[in-house]
Symmetry: C5
Subunit: 271 residues, 5 copies
């Protein structure tokens, strides 16, 4: 159901293309950059460090996290405002119990659970605690996932440098003609190159991508929690709207007010 | 309506001029610094990393953010104190309802909404919550925007180094006369040069500029919120003034007291 | 009783193998990397800095911390939920005192103490304070331990560089043929190599490993505390379950709901 | 009225002397370090980046901030304790109103305002809010000022490196004899030298100096606020003394107790 | 009365020995590392920056701080638990007033003051405030002291680099034979060497040492405060013990329970 986040593969392709272009500009060809031992030291060594750093159950998540970085989140903030205004009106008209059917059809698990607990008459404080615990858990999950990639992103250049040092020490220990030196040094630099490339075109951007998606998800859940609390406090549709609107970005606000004016002729005053 | 922030273009021009001057001092001319492939790797590669890092809707804001960094904010703190003193006096004299016309003419959306909700008799706690959510949203918006430029500012030198490594590896793999080496190395260094320049003259300063503007905006909104809360608590004009004065800088305070003394003969004691 | 955390030794072995492979690729052999004086400066010097940094009783813990990084924690979150649901049902049926025998057989000291204090009728606030103090103490213990390795991990490359500077100064002060220079420089680089290797394959990964294990332990204790508080507040089994489920990861939740459906036919709604 | 903080000019002079001495030790003379274009790139370029980073009204404060870094703050903590003990005794004897004359002669604006508001019978909560807002404003002012110098301190070495890269690229593009190279490289390094020197002998130390002065000022205001709150709560002279003594450093405490014993024969027990 | 912290001098001696050994391994002797001008630039220059950074009264503390880093703190946590259990029993038996003689003989100033204020019947909230202010003051004192050394530890390598740049510029400006270059470069590197050594074997370790001692001291005071509050709340000896035990490390707990079992046959359950 999730849409693809096309920017992630576009960025990966574009970045790789730009770097490949730079590598092909000279007369030396691409093959001088291909050295399996160097790739082994940089990627293998830094992955070994990641293996020590994280327990198995965290590492298992990495594939799922990569998928997350490739999909865009299902976030429909303006629909959520409409939904909460509708809920508030129904409660005012027919009471909370009339919502049961409406709520059971909500697709989002977090929102449905929150509203179900509300209708079931569980104490507001307990509901808040349950939902806050869940938001915290979501935040933790994303942050931990993001950190795996970022820590790998610090190990990769370090192992690139370790590979370069190995190459330099070997080269200096066994010097022949200047050209042998040059070729040795070229090989030595390849590991640093792979370390920097791997960290800056894959690991760090993916790490930050996951962090940003987590932030978005948490904001969306906070917005739902804010709405659910508002319902519990019996706020009017207007107050709920005023509260939830603040979770929109400037642009989203503008298009929301535009639609409001068109639909209802409301004069929205928030810039 | 926004005034231009002339320091941003002045800084950009002055910085470019200084660097260009340094590039022209020798006999080598400017053309040795012009290498499209290098610019491509540094700017293109680091932008690719930004594409992976951020979702599309965040990136769309970058143009708007650049505009923000070029305009100065509409912040009139001393006028705001006068306005709140006026409001406090009117309420004491004629009651809150007499304010309706006065408030509906306020240009600033945030301030008008806060006062309108107050007059409408919405509960103080709800108003505070709504306005705090809005301030938080403003803060988030600026911080996220600022961070896009700062993260780009960390990718740019990294891709500068990646370009330099590509150049060095190519050069060492195919060495001819010392002069060929020198020219190869010169080209290799150009990407590092562009990475450092792009990060330190554009990306980081713009990133911090936006962060500073966000801080200013948030302080201004906090000042409004403090005033609105004061009105709700029924504070006298004197207490409101004492509270709001603390949002002025030392210099603004001095000029405010000077005006006070001239206008009303008040002996302002706050340094 | 603790299971071994096989990833730590696997990572150490794999990382060492990868680096050794890189060192053996050339024709120079492994012996050029073996230089007792270099190892002495890097490991000895950085350990001396650690000796100054930490008091004796902290350093004594290092062996125990290494063991912790090699074992995986005993954490059974889904069992804990079952346990708390069972406890809640027993209390509802037979009252708190009927739990005495059940509780005295709990193996985990933290959980048993918390429940014993509850049955003994100690005030909920005192119990919460005692358990929170203990969780804080656990967190402190792990964080301090993790930091010893991380600080050593910053000293190691610094002493690697100090060794390299010593080598370079010696080499430059007494230059003979280019080959002498090369051999001297090769030796100089060996200390930097050891510093980077020691920090990135052992010290930093072990430091982060301990930090991650501490985080897991603290989360587990927080889950227990949440359950104990829930028991004290007289929450129903359903509310306890809803609260504790949030301490599970997405995958654990899925398998928990699957088991629930199989066992009881419950329709679990949380994604 | 402010005393001079002699350590700032002493440090500047001593640091400059030490570096100048190092520059004169060889036979090359000081003139090889003088290169207007290099100074222009480093200082001019980094200042351009500061211009983009900060709005005009922040930059205007820089002169004032430099003056602050040269003067020492008027802080007399033990006198303040005596003053508050005196005030507490007077209130106990003659009531709060008897203080009016005493208070109006207090020189420090913050302290006088706080006490005046107390005597005027403004609500304690409002007074606390006003004074806390003022302390926060002071803290902000110093922190922002300190940050301008620190951010300049990060731009300066960056532009030093940019200058060095310009020099190196020029040199490599146009190579003649080894001596031309050496002279070119020497010039290239001069910008890095100026960047490092400017950042580490002026910008960073001044930045931290202002931060430290701000911290001192805030502590002093916190001490005043603590005393004013104590007065409002009707604390006895002994309790006020016990509270305020904690704002003294170990050494100040010692000399305070020594004076107490001499004056009153009190047996001070706090180490 | 303070015991010496032998690890600090041992670390200093061991680290110096290791580095000296590395310096003597070659045939070049120690004298090539001795260059008064280099030492002057590195240590003198970085100290000048410290002079600008800190006011005189902070710098005066440096000698005292060095002494602190050489002595180990008087911390007897298990004795403290016994003491509080004894106090709790006495109060239950004979009332608070019977403690006067017992308390007046307590050597530790902080603990004695806290208990004296309790017996004197000062309000618990005031006592807590006084003691918390004192703990905060202790924490501040150590943190500030630790930071002086750490900031010096960042200036030292910076001035090492400045010295190296001076040497390189001089060398490149006046080149003779390759051997002159080598000797010049060797001298240039000496300042970097001193900067790295001074920072990593003295300044940073001493800075962290003081920070760790401060943390220990604060934990000990927190434990006292926790006990004093427990006494005020009238907790039983068992609850006091359960609370205070959490301030022990795992090992201290084990030995505490062992002693308990030997003495009283108590079955201690905390791991």
């Amino acid at each position: 159901m999730k849409k693809q986040d096309i920017l992630t593969p576009i960025g990966l392709l574009f970045g790789t293309a730009v770097v490949l272009f730079g590598m092909m500009v000279g007369d030396t060809g691409l093959m001088i950059f291909f050295d399996p031992a160097s790739i082994g030291i940089t990627i293998g060594g830094s992955f070994a460090a990641v293996l020590i750093t994280y327990p198995a159950d965290e590492l298992k998540k990495m594939i799922g996290l990569l998928k997350i970085s490739m999909t865009s989140s299902n976030i429909y903030k303006t629909d959520l405002i409409d939904q909460f205004k509708e809920i508030s009106r129904r409660i005012r008209k027919d009471g909370a119990l009339s919502l049961e059917d409406y709520v059971s059809e909500i697709e989002d698990d977090f929102l449905r659970k929150g509203l179900e607990l509300t209708i079931d008459g569980i104490e507001p404080d307990s509901i808040k605690q349950i939902l806050e615990l869940e938001i915290e858990a979501i935040e933790n999950e994303y942050n931990k996932g993001s950190k795996i990639f970022k820590i790998w992103g610090t190990y990769a250049p370090a192992f690139g440098m370790i590979g370069t040092l190995i190459g330099l020490i070997q080269m200096l220990a066994d010097m022949g003609s200047p050209e042998t030196i040059a070729s040795g040094m070229s090989k030595a630099l390849i590991t640093t190159f792979y370390g920097a490339l791997f960290a800056n075109i894959i690991l760090n951007p993916i790490g930050f991508n996951i962090q940003n998606k987590g932030q978005k998800e948490v904001e969306y859940r906070d917005m739902m929690l804010c709405g659910i609390e508002s319902i519990q406090e019996g706020d009017s549709a207007r107050v709920i709207e005023e509260k939830l609107i603040n979770f929109l970005t400037v642009e989203e606000k503008r298009s929301y007010y535009k639609r409001m004016i068109e639909e209802e002729g409301v004069d929205g005053g928030v810039a």
